[in-house]
């Protein structure tokens, strides 16, 4: 069984990746405040998604492989959510007498 994509589709994905790289560099030079981070990370996620789906063939992979791939993302999400739910909500009070 060989279910890799065609040469042409790899080329298209590659060109899209280069376009996204150009976009991320341009966006970083324009100051749009907090949006800069969101745009930068949004473009990074899009690039990662293209690579994972096409270059890493997850598009054609079995459900079980999807589960394995999603597991990494799932635990990473827990790591971020639980850590940030603490960091972003904690109020630091100075110690008494300190």
């Amino acid at each position: 069984m060989n279910d890799t994509d065609s040469f042409f589709s790899y080329l298209l994905v590659f060109l899209a990746l280069l376009a996204l790289l150009a976009a991320t560099v341009v966006v970083a030079r324009v100051d749009v405040g907090r949006l800069n981070l969101a745009l930068g990370l949004g473009i990074a996620f899009t690039k990662a998604l293209l690579i994972v789906l096409f270059f890493m063939h997850l598009r054609h992979a079995r459900r079980l492989t999807w589960v394995a791939a999603a597991a990494g993302l799932f635990w990473l999400a827990i790591l971020f959510l639980l850590t940030l739910s603490d960091v972003l909500t904690r109020v630091w009070t100075p110690a008494v007498g300190g």
Binding site: T4, F14, G40, A71, G72, L79, T83
Partner: protein, 217 residues
């Protein structure tokens, strides 16, 4: 019983089942790698939230152009790696060799530029190691030092992963060069190596905007 293909390992019924198992195993390994790097990313996030100005100030010391060039090199290397797997599936031995060598040289180019950047940072006293002077200047030198701690550990760990990838790609190139034909087992192994290579690329895709681009204008 039918004759078993030479590439078929013990517990599997057929090559497809073996391939599915190997692919899933590799993805499980990559999931552990996601968490390995994830711990550093979450640490970076926490301190970036705590010291936004210091991190932004420190980030301006980095050369965003070199970072962008390196991102381009890695994206191109991933493209060639995907083509190497594509060519292997079509038993095009010479093409596989060509694409593997291109992948390897782009990877080496990335490491060369990264090494040059580290050397520049060393010369500008931006390496936070005991025994070296750290002089970032600016309003938040201590926060800059923390940023550079994250920068060196994250890019260093990434470079180690890439170096392992380059060595493996070189090893596979030698295998292709010495063999006369491409077998089923080799195609499967090359696919797994490709997964690793693309993963290392994906890590850099997140490192680049987080480390290089947060300085703004």
């Amino acid at each position: 019983m039918n004759e078993r293909p030479a590439a078929l390992g013990h517990p599997y019924d057929d090559l497809e089942q073996q391939r599915d198992a190997a692919t899933m195993g590799m993805w499980l390994f990559l999931a552990t790698e996601v968490l390995f790097f994830g711990a550093l990313f979450v640490g970076y996030t926490v301190y970036r939230i705590a010291y936004p100005q210091g991190f932004s100030e420190a980030s301006r010391h980095l050369d965003a152009t070199l970072g962008a060039v390196n991102t381009g090199l890695l994206l191109t290397s991933s493209f060639f790696m995907a083509l190497a797997v594509w060519a292997a599936g079509r038993r095009r031995r010479r093409l596989v060799l060509l694409f593997l060598l291109l992948t390897m040289f782009l990877g080496l180019g990335f490491l060369g530029i990264k090494g040059f950047e580290w050397y520049q940072e060393f010369r500008q006293n931006l390496v936070p190691l005991p025994g070296l002077t750290f002089e970032a200047g600016g309003d938040f030198p201590q926060q800059s030092e923390l940023f550079f701690n994250f920068y060196f550990i994250m890019t260093g760990l990434h470079a180690v992963h890439l170096l392992i990838g380059v060595l493996l790609v070189g090893f596979f190139a030698v295998l292709v060069w010495r063999r006369t034909r491409i077998g089923e087992a080799f195609i499967m192994q090359l696919e797994l190596l490709g997964l690793y290579w693309h993963f290392v690329d994906v890590v850099w895709i997140f490192l680049f905007p987080l480390l290089y681009l947060l300085g703004g204008t």
